[in-house]
């Protein structure tokens, strides 16, 4: 369970990214965070695994006060939280399986960390993770030879190998074409339902968000302006979240879809 209590985040240059956020996300939920670029979606997600520090308030993840963690404990805490990025963030010069195996690195003895020689058991676990996202056959291919959708699934497998309780996803389908985007979203949904992993996702494509997520959180200028079931989202609510720019956003999205 993730609890935001009066969380505020101000950057060192004075920009207020989040103000007075109060949220409770239960284990196993599929949450989509929507809003304009720069509204604070990314910051919200990155506070959960302490990539960003919060300025005030309390952020609890399974009763652990995230702001109070230090050094080794932050890293131990992060082991339980997977993260997926817009640009996949894989090491493209090496093979798929090597990218998945890095999930096991923090627990390894020093000589294994230095040489990069992994245990057979870990290799099997990595292959299982690849199997779950359906790209087992690509295990020994170099990442730079895969398509964008396949790369995002490698990133998903890397996260699954971590065996996380929570997956944070920062615009996971923004670099993908609509068809591939749906395949990746199906993966997210399956992982969420079958393994009871919470998914908290920033997403730009409102239609897809409404289709897949159980719950939608709308952010505008660092504040939560909507929080409810996906089925409750109406045109008026979207107008509010996107600050009257909804029509423009929608037109732009449709235009993009038309080109693909």
């Amino acid at each position: 369970m993730i609890q935001f209590m009066n969380v505020t985040k101000t950057y060192t240059n004075g920009t207020k990214a989040l103000s007075n956020i109060n949220l409770t996300i239960k284990q196993g939920e599929f949450v989509a965070v929507i809003g304009l670029s720069g509204a604070g979606k990314s910051t919200l997600i990155r506070c959960i695994n302490r990539i960003h520090d919060i300025s005030s308030g309390t952020l609890l993840v399974d009763e652990v006060d995230v702001a109070k963690l230090k050094g080794r404990h932050i890293r131990k805490f992060r082991r339980r939280i997977g993260m997926i990025f817009q640009s996949f963030n894989l090491v493209t010069r090496t093979t798929v399986i090597n990218n998945v195996l890095v999930s096991f690195v923090p627990g390894l003895p020093l000589w294994r960390k230095l040489t990069g020689i992994f245990h057979k058991e870990h290799k099997i676990k990595a292959l299982e993770a690849l199997d779950k996202v359906g790209i087992l056959d690509k295990a020994f291919v170099r990442v730079d030879q895969l398509s964008g959708g396949q790369q995002q699934r490698v990133a998903l497998a890397r996260t699954l190998a971590q065996n996380p309780d929570i997956i944070l996803a920062d615009e996971p389908i923004a670099s993908l074409d609509p068809v591939t985007a749906r395949i990746v979203m199906d993966d997210f949904q399956r992982i969420n339902k079958e393994m009871d992993i919470s998914v908290i996702m920033n997403i730009h494509h409102v239609e897809i968000a409404l289709e897949y997520a159980d719950r939608v959180i709308g952010i505008r200028k660092g504040e939560v302006v909507f929080d409810g079931e996906a089925s409750q989202v109406t045109q008026e609510i979207l107008q509010e979240i996107y600050g009257g720019k909804w029509e423009a956003e929608k037109a732009e999205m449709e235009e993009q879809a038309a080109y693909v």
């Binding site: 695994n49 990539i51 993260m83 990025f85 640009s87 890095v102 960390k113 990069g116 971590q162």
Partner: protein
Amino acid sequence: MFDKLFPPKKMMLPGGKIVLQKRSRTPLVVLILAVCTVLSAQFTNFSFPVLFDRIHEFFTIINKMIPPDWGSLSGIWSPLLDTIKMSLLGSIIGAWIALPVAVAASSNIVQSRIVIIISKALLSLLRTLPTLVSALIATFVFGLGSMAGTVAIMLFTISYVGKLLYEQIENVDMGAFEAMESLGMTRLEAFRFAVLPQVLPGYISTSLYCFEGNVRYAAILGLVGAGGIGLLINEGLGWRDYPAVGMIILVLIVTVYAIERVSEHFRKKLI
């Protein structure tokens, strides 16, 4: 500034349009270069008469080198191997040490500004020092012999490989690094698994290239007593035994060429 001193030339086209042409900087550059050349020539006593009068001496020496003294070949092998050993050992150790130093100098890996500044300053300081000078200093500490030469080559390798490596590291895509950190790695672990695979081919290629150059450098270190084939060259020129010097140079050319070919083969494979 230049444009204020020499305002652009105005030209009137027959149609009445006015075009501004910026004054060319070439005359000024040529003038400065010419003045510098003349001053330097005076400073260094450069004189064409002496040159034309005595340059035949130079070719006389070269003439005496050909044909080389094949009989001296047997005495060359051991110092030649020493030269190769010195450059090999210095390059291997230097390339290893360059890795941590380069990491410490990379602003995207290390967060402490002081560590970065010190490492960068150290690298450029080492790079400025001519190899022969560091070899000379090393002979005072390590005594005459290949040890001093090896140390000098190692220092140069650290500075050369280190600088190119940290430039590469700083230009690397940091996405994978962020992902590694988000799954609970320390910054050093994240470097090992996210950045190192990206820079490794460049690092090895730079080290090989540096080794090629080091063989050349190692050949002269003997002149200051730092071991290798340079000692023989020095003796040969001192005794005016030019055919022997010719032999050494011939062997050196063949060796350097062979090493360059092999190393180039592997460097091409890496890219």
